[in-house]
Symmetry: C2
């Protein structure tokens, strides 16, 4: 890295070139550009650049590469792992001024957007065009599509539509040396050489900066139905998942499971929390969502299927959403974890985002829960996208400040490793999970990641210190 | 490259180590290992290795890397671009002895297979397990899954299930230096660092050798329906595609278009060719396939939809398959191009596999067809996966031997470039399309491909000379 003094000169020259809107320096760097939603402390970057064009992104990266100044790309700053937290003495490169929808192609079902565009703006534009953009997650109002792609975001409908990777056809990317890769492919199929865009999806900004994307749209669903089902035992969860896949086929758009421990927090402790069904002696509550073609035909088929499951004893109890308000209540219970930080509910806690082979998820829960309690007096509750093999854990030691992040992580990720799982199913590695990357990827894989990084970013300029060293 | 003499010694040592089943040398190399379905002349490799384990693949690659002997990975040898044709003086590494299904996980809906396993064996095993493997293409009986993944194969159901890339969750790969990358992930979601398997999918064996794969299975469709629709004008093709997507949603599993010029060849010239509908004055015939949940409900909905389209004048005529034999006839017409090499039909010809933004496909046809005829007396007919933006062209100059491959390619790929298309939608680049890679990928992209290749295969050992130099 350059001395601060020289770095400052480079940045001042760039600031002059790009104009005052494009840069804020030192103490003027806004709080929002200093850290993300990981609760890591604020960083002290030299500056935040806010380019308005790909050409400006290219000039910034080229200059910083030449000067050896580390650059951290930033989208909506909603990441949970510190991936967009800048380095002290480095610069942040925020895409906040590069927003907007450039083109919608109804025949090709594609949309071309600038990388800073918020997810919700994209969802609405697709809807207005009579189409559907399938990516959806809690931070939709704040997160930027460039960040969604850089982290290969997952969310609520992966079981049907896949992750962010599956929803992108083309990218424009600026490499660390300033080279612009214009890969704005609009076709579903293109096998002309390596599919280079795959490199940048999920790389958490360590290989370059995404500036534009061609997104894949889907037909708008004709109807949406949802049900909450109480089951008794994880075997019944698996049976329900199997029959849901067979009977609902490609209509199945969510299969979300809440363990009883989560359910009690979400429905009894969260202010305003509602229990759309009564859990009784049940062990899990499953939220099933279906996107069909026609409410009359497919809604009736869905209800008939649920009734059959009740009669067969697969489910103990169930409720079908009759109104949009019911639907919102169902999802509200599933999303109640967002309220857990409230001291009246749980307060400070540790969150996990692990992936496991579906059959082994209950084994994880029955091993980790008592281990955490016995070893650290740490409580834990469980919920998540079981249909995708991905659960979230909320863990906390009452009254502890700070929470024992490292101790708890060691136990959780140790079991994940033994069960052949992943330390991150959807949030990424960033800074927070770096110590645990090798629980999921062996030395040979991390070594190849490094070789790829070195070949694309030989000076180790973009988002250095993230994922691996 | 080493002198032949030294290379021979390395190979003989390896042959001794691995045993006689694992290697055939010089004149004993079978014809099938000397070229693929590209019609390129047979090569003269020093040997073909036929390892029976990942460990043997690793030893072969390590030895060849150290000795500087180029290695060409081989699967079912059904590629159309020369990708698996070995080098004179190099060695072929055939996966033909590494076949078999190792595990099926019904909860996770995954199947773990060895790379040499034929596609059809996989399809049948999934079916027997009550599940469905969605990849399907003409060479299903001969092609190997490792080759399907290395070329990111497309085929008949991309519109619904995606390409080979979308159907793989994990890979085991041997790098050129013999390092084994064990990335046998079985989860739908895994964001722990770079998703390295993406590098090897579609790399045509230029970055390493795939030895095992974890495939993604789908629920078995409850019913399959198909229709053939005659339309008048490409605008009507687009209208039909739009309404098919909206009305049939995720059920739509194929949208294949035959231009009238193709239709006449397929139904009138091919021996035993059948015309399931009468084209009359129509310009295109569309084969629509739907995979539904329940024949009674979804089959009726499909027929009602078609009747409506006929009444509205979107389609001129249509036929719905009533029996499996009807269905076979519909697909037989679509697949009749396989018979075009018969001298009684067309005889020697040139095939293309281009991709275009869907709206521009007809523009391509109306420009290229007269240009080829006027410039070279070259006839051409058109058909393909219009729903994926991918068409095939069969072009021929009657009586010409050889066919003017280079002249015709220059015209076809020139128009493809102008319209923002791709020189290969699904077959890959291999040797045949190398001169045209830059019609689709610019210098910056090809340069990055080279950097990636160099970082993974510094001695340029695996499948050297393919895709780019």
């Amino acid at each position: 890295m350059m001395q601060l003094q020289n770095a400052g000169r480079f940045i001042e020259d760039l600031a002059q070139e790009l104009g005052p809107k494009a840069v804020l320096m030192g103490p003027d760097v806004p709080v929002r550009n200093r850290t993300d939603w990981s609760f890591l402390p604020q960083a002290a970057p030299l500056a935040v650049f806010r380019p308005s064009s790909t050409e400006e992104v290219s000039r910034i990266l080229k200059t910083c590469s030449q000067a050896g100044i580390p650059v951290t790309p930033q989208g909506g700053m909603t990441g949970l792992c510190g991936g967009s937290r800048p380095l002290d003495g480095g610069v942040a490169l925020s895409m906040e001024r590069m927003t907007g929808i450039e083109q919608i192609d109804p025949d090709g079902m594609t949309m071309t957007v600038l990388a800073g565009t918020p997810l919700e703006v994209i969802q609405k534009a697709a809807d207005e065009a009579g189409l559907f953009f399938a990516l959806d997650l809690g931070a939709r109002g704040s997160c930027a599509i460039g960040g969604n792609l850089s982290t290969n975001a997952g969310g609520n409908r992966v079981i049907r539509y896949g992750m962010a990777r599956d929803l992108v056809l083309g990218l424009e990317v600026v490499l660390p040396d300033g080279t612009v890769l214009s890969m704005l492919n609009r076709m579903l199929k293109n096998n002309a050489g390596y599919d280079l865009k795959q490199l940048f999806v999920g790389a958490e900004g360590t290989l370059g900066v995404i500036t534009r994307a061609v997104l894949r749209l889907h037909p708008k669903p004709g109807c949406v139905c949802a049900a909450m089902c109480v089951v008794n035992g994880y075997d019944k969860v698996l049976e329900l998942l199997g029959t849901a896949r067979r009977t609902l086929g490609p209509f199945l758009s969510a299969f979300e499971v809440m363990w009883a421990d989560y359910w009690h927090q979400a429905t009894e402790r969260v202010p305003g929390g509602k229990a759309p069904v009564s859990i009784g002696d049940g062990t899990h509550v499953v939220l099933i969502e279906v996107q069909g073609l026609d409410d009359e035909i497919d809604g009736a088929r869905f209800s008939a299927w649920l009734e059959q499951l009740f009669e067969k004893g697969v489910i103990e109890d169930g409720a079908v959403a009759q109104t949009l308000s019911d639907m919102a209540d169902f999802w509200g219970t599933r999303d109640a974890a967002a309220e857990f930080a409230n001291p009246a509910v749980i307060g400070p806690h540790i969150s996990f985002d692990i992936g496991l082979p579906i059959r082994r998820i209950e084994e994880f829960v029955t091993r980790s829960k008592p281990a955490l309690l016995e070893q650290f007096g740490c409580h834990s509750v469980h919920y998540g996208h079981v249909g995708d093999g991905n659960i979230h854990i909320v863990a906390w030691v009452p009254g502890a400040d700070p929470q024992p992040l490292s101790d708890v992580s060691t136990v959780v990720y140790g079991i994940v490793r033994e069960l052949g799982g992943t330390v991150s199913a959807e949030h990424g590695i960033g800074l927070l999970k770096k110590p645990y990357l090798k629980h999921t990827r062996d030395d040979a894989q991390v070594d190849l990641m490094r070789r790829i990084k070195r070949s694309v970013d030989p000076d180790w300029i973009v988002n250095a210190t993230k994922i691996f060293d």
